[in-house]
C-alpha cells in the first residue's frame, strides 16, 4: 500500500510528522477518509476522533479540536487547536472539566459564556470518548 506524508500540527506542539497509510478525520459533514494520492481538498475539521495508521504499526487514535485539513499532492496537513493521544488524556481532569462545563451551562449566563462552556464540554467529552476507545482495544 502506498504511503503519504502527514503533518499533524497542534497549537502547542507538533503532534506527528511522517509517513502514514491512512487517515480518518471528522469533517464538518461526516468523516473524511484519506489514502495516498487523494485529490486536493481543504476541509473544516470538527472536534472528534482522528484515526491514523503509520506503516508497520497498529492504527492510532487522537482526540482533536476544530481546525482544518489540507490535502495537496501526496502531502496531508492537519491543523488543529489541540491533539492528544489516549495515553496523554487524564480521565479525572476531563471528567471534572465536563462537570464544570455542565454546571456552567445550567447557570443562565451570557451568550458568549454559554458558547465557551459548550465548547469546553464538547472537548472534554471527546477526550473521554477517545480515552475509552483507546482502552477498549
Amino acid at each position: 500500500m502506498d504511503t503519504f506524508q502527514v503533518h499533524i500540527l497542534a497549537a502547542d506542539k507538533t503532534f506527528y510528522e511522517g509517513p502514514c497509510l491512512s487517515l480518518t478525520i471528522p469533517a464538518s459533514d461526516g468523516e473524511l477518509g484519506i489514502l495516498a494520492h487523494h485529490s486536493p481538498v481543504i476541509a473544516a475539521v470538527k472536534p472528534g476522533t482522528l484515526r491514523y495508521q503509520i506503516p508497520g504499526e497498529e492504527p492510532k487514535l487522537a482526540a482533536i479540536s476544530p481546525g482544518i485539513v489540507k490535502v495537496e499532492g501526496n502531502d496531508v496537513l492537519v491543523l488543529v487547536d489541540s491533539a492528544e493521544r489516549p495515553e496523554e488524556i487524564d480521565v479525572v481532569r476531563a471528567r471534572r472539566e465536563a462537570d464544570e462545563a455542565r454546571e456552567a451551562l445550567l447557570q443562565k449566563r451570557s451568550r458568549q459564556e454559554h458558547q465557551i462552556a459548550q465548547a469546553t464540554l464538547a472537548r472534554a467529552l471527546n477526550r473521554l470518548r477517545v480515552k475509552n476507545m483507546g482502552i477498549g482495544r
Binding site: 464538518s28 473544516a44 482544518i68 458558547q115
Partner: protein
Amino acid sequence: MAGTKEIKTHIESVRETRKITNAMYLIASTKLRRARMELDHTQPYFKALRREIKRIFRTANEVDSRYFFPTDVDTPLEGTYGCLVITADKGLAGAYNQNAIREAMRLLEQHPDVKLFVVGEYGRRFFSAHNIPIEHSFLYTAQNPTMARAREISALLLDGFDRGELKQIFVVYTDMENAMSFQARSARLLPFHRTYFAAPAGEKAVKEPFEFFPNTNEVLDSMMPSYVSGFIYSALIDSFCCEQSARMTAMDSANQNAEHLLGELSLEFNRVRQAAITQEITEVSAGARAQRQKKGS
C-alpha cells in the same frame, strides 16, 4: 563627611537591594527561557495556519467573508474599534509598560471611539488612573500566557466582532525583534486586508485547484477562531518574553549600579575610617608628648 555608621547602614541597604534585584534577574531569565521554549513549540502551527489562509484566499479570490475588508473600500471603517492592550502585571521592567501604553494612547488619539480590552495589572491601573474607561480587563493573564486564556480573549473579541459592535480589532503588543531589541506595536487583527494576503513573489503557485468541504466560507469560519486565538496567544507570549527580557536588562543595570555604588561607598567608608584612626593617633601622640613635656619640665 558622613560618619562611619551612616555609611555602613547605606552599604547594608544597597546590599539588600542588590540581593533583590539579583533574584529578580535570575527569575526573569528562567521565565524567559521557558516562554521562549513555548513560543518555539507553537511557531510551526501558526506559520502553517497563516500560509494556508493566504493560499485559500488566493485560490478562491471571490471569497466574500466578513473577516475581510470589502473589496472596493479603502478608506478607514467607521464605528467602534476594539483594542487589546497587552501590558505586564508588574513594573520594574524598564520602559516596557510605558512603550505599550504610549502605543495604545497613540491609537486612541487617532480614533477616540475605542473599546479597550486590557491584559495586565499595570495597564488597568494606568487607564483607570487616567479615567479612560476599560471595556474588559483580563487579570493575571500576563503572568502565565496559555492557549486556554488566549481562546477566552479571542472568543470575547470575536463575539463583539460578529455582532458588529466592533468594526475593527487591534492588538497592541510588544514584539521581540531580536534578543536585545523590542518594540511596541499595534497590529490590526480583524478584518484582514486583501493586500495582506497577496502573493509574495517566489511562493509556489497553486497548481491544482482545491476542493472545499463543505464550502469555502465554512472552512474559513472554522479557521478564523483558531487564527485569532493563535495570533493573540503568540502576541501574549511575545509580550511576555519582552517583559522578562526588559526586566532582565533593567535588573542587570540595577545590579551594575549597585556594584558601582558599593565600590564608591566602601572607598568612602575606608577613607572616613582612616581619617578617624589618623585623628585618634594624632590625639594620642599629642597627649603623650604633652605628658612627656610636663615630666621634663
